[in-house]
Symmetry: C2
Subunit: 429 residues, 2 copies
């Protein structure tokens, strides 16, 4: 854990290093991923089978690659009642929040007489990557699948690794609840390549979303342009801005809720109370010991955990903007005062009773958020990631005279004679 004070003479330099510190990207991964993508593109299902056997330790039978819809329904029906109710509440709240994101079409005629507009349509097919193993989260499935379905995507394909052949019944249950159309037992960069380029078994999709490990993230990055992707995802991070009036144990739990995700996750506390900082640091130590996820949480906290003591929380927005964190918690009496100064963040959690974990599951806004300072330019997942806009223009004969000559002048200036000619002909010039 790193401890900083904003009044220290070399704080600016140390903080800049913290901001620049990238917990991702390995050139060896990039090469490996490219090899896998090329291989899947050329050899299709054969390559998929080899990689699945190698990385997941099992090889499905020819007819065992796709998990039947029946298995998903069964998994859903076999859920414990409280868990089923929890999933249903989450799905309903996510659906409600994302429905309001649906963009409106435009179609109007302007003063010059031109009809202009734009219409939004869903992509035909979307692929959702659902991690296996440590990170096989039904909540991630809901957060990806529901916006796609709300957007109107007709073919929703999930790929998920099933190490040693073991499926996660919770993921299947969530897939049933969200209305996923296909689920395939394949993971890693090879799954992303199959979704993008298609194989004989798996038809290609137009957009691929969903979190994954470094290989998955790199595969999405490399295939961007062949398909749309949500965002390059890296390890998670949380920034907690808290005054000394919080319960240090609550704040410690919040920091650890990020740390327990991934040894590369980062938890940062900014506080204006040095004694409170000590209490939180102590509480983290106590809390970690009680966690079944202690090993991961401790690795993350030891390597990347950071506590910054500032003279005043007025300093917090500027620091938060430089960090552009995925999650920002503001645990003060008037969180909006600080929030007003925050320009770059994936999602913000306001007030002492809004732990980030609420947003992971049931609040409604998406938990797929930009990491690694990408909140400077990127947004959380939304229905827009599964839609695209077609603009349109209609010029009635009577209106061409109002805008045509200007277009001709510009086309001539750019040396594009056929552009000019296509308008001149219609104006009888």
């Amino acid at each position: 854990m790193l401890r900083l004070k904003s009044s220290d003479p070399d704080f600016a330099r140390t903080f800049a290093r913290l901001v620049k510190d990238r917990r991702e990207s390995d050139p060896d991964i990039a090469r490996d991923v490219q090899t896998i993508i090329d291989d899947v593109r050329l050899r299709g299902d054969e390559a998929l089978a080899e990689y699945t056997e190698r990385f997941d330790g099992h090889l499905p039978a020819d007819d065992g690659w796709r998990i039947p819809a029946e298995d998903c329904r069964e998994a859903f029906e076999n859920l414990a009642p409280d868990l089923r109710a929890a999933l249903e509440l989450a799905a309903q709240r996510i659906r409600d929040y994302h429905r309001a994101q649906l963009p409106e079409d435009r179609d109007y005629t302007d003063e010059a007489g031109l009809r202009l507009g734009a219409k939004w349509r869903a992509v035909d097919g979307a692929g959702l990557y659902v991690p296996g193993g440590r990170a096989a989260y039904p909540s991630s499935l809901l957060m990806n699948a529901i916006p796609a379905k709300v957007a109107g995507v007709e073919r929703l394909v999930v790929t998920t690794p099933t190490p040693k052949g073991v499926v996660n019944p919770l993921v299947l249950a969530a897939a049933h609840l969200a209305g996923v159309d296909e689920i395939w037992r394949v993971g890693g960069a090879q799954a992303v390549a199959a979704l993008a380029h298609g194989t004989r078994r798996i038809r290609p999709v137009d957009v691929i979303t969903g979190p994954g490990n470094a290989w998955v993230a790199e595969a999405k990055r490399q295939l961007y342009g062949v398909v749309g992707i949500d965002m390059v995802a890296g390890p998670s991070e949380i920034l907690v801005i808290a005054d000394g009036k919080n319960d240090p144990v609550w704040i410690a739990a919040d920091l650890l809720s990020q740390a327990e995700h991934d040894p590369l996750a980062q938890s940062i506390l900014i506080t204006d109370d040095a004694a409170f900082a000590d209490q939180v640091a102590d509480a983290v130590g106590v809390e970690i010991a009680m966690l079944p996820t202690a090993k991961v949480a401790k690795a993350s906290w030891d390597a990347y955990g950071t506590i910054i003591v500032v003279d005043s929380l007025d300093e917090a927005p500027a620091l938060a903007n430089a960090l552009a964190a995925e999650h920002v918690e503001i645990a003060t009496d008037d969180p909006d005062a600080i929030f007003a100064g925050i320009r770059h963040a994936g999602s913000v959690f306001l007030g002492r009773h809004t732990p980030e974990a609420i947003g992971d599951y049931v609040a409604g806004p998406n938990h797929v958020l930009p990491t690694g300072r990408r909140a400077r330019f990127a947004s959380g997942l939304s229905v827009l990631d599964f839609m695209k806009r077609t603009s349109f223009i209609a010029v009635p004969e009577s209106a061409l005279g109002a805008v045509g000559p200007a277009a001709i002048a510009l086309a001539d200036a750019e040396g594009l004679a056929a552009h000019a000619r296509s308008i001149e002909l219609r104006l009888g010039l």
Copy 2:
């Protein structure tokens, strides 16, 4: 030029090849571009200087890299009056169309008592690539710069190559009109790398947009994730859907207005009238001969031009959706009937008096559009490319009981103990 009939027995196969045909992507380019990016990241301005000298044939003096704002104002003031008026009309219409794209923030309290919402903010800095040489288009500058400024971007940086040191006064004039903040004499992959990673002279930006050659497009693709980008851009294409009642010369001019952009551009005509198809083919031959851009247009038309004769224009939407073309012209009496069936297109031009060139300059909608079948999942440039959304959640103490237990159940099911604990503590569990 390729000529197809949809009733031919092997049409499906030939058309599938047309759809799959990629006029881009060269693995050698990818490697070259990666070398350039790495070099600029490590050696900064020194590398920029070397590449600029090598590719643009000139080396600016230390204080000559940035083009002064004064030069831009002067270029604007020296424009011929009709050209100045044309640029101003274009800028105004682009501004009007894009202003209506500004998204609304959300902030509401739902039935469960949770306050939820999202706020949109512009990125801090945007970089606009403006091609030099053959494609030094002031219209491109307006189409990129105006949405950025409408979005609220405070620092708008243009990079543009100035081969042999020659600047394009029209580009400078457009930069003045659009309110660009910095213009640098640098192009190619090296300019994109400088914008993304920053150098001592050029501070980094958060988003890079703008068209460019294959090197620029590949550099943007590789740097996606370090910065946001608009879209991977490839060679342009137009699909004209026209019945036999059009003037074949008009349609020929429209096809050539795409072909004259780039030897790799593609122009496709779909018509239900075989005699009209012949007339258009003949007219293309006649028109090409008159064009100062004949060499480029002929190369494109010979290599990629395609005429598809269908039995009925009812077949057109399905073919158009498979092609997912950047530009689609519908030259019929009732273009909306065909448009209703089109799901995938960058921009659509409705009616006999709406040549695509109108949209390139003065209509208002953006002319930076997805190419190479990417309209399946991507949209034209908009203010959203320069903005990002921060979601937020505030749970009052009184509302945590309504959603907290469901979140705890899900966290437990996912094995994330600290997530559950952060909520349990607040609920006194």
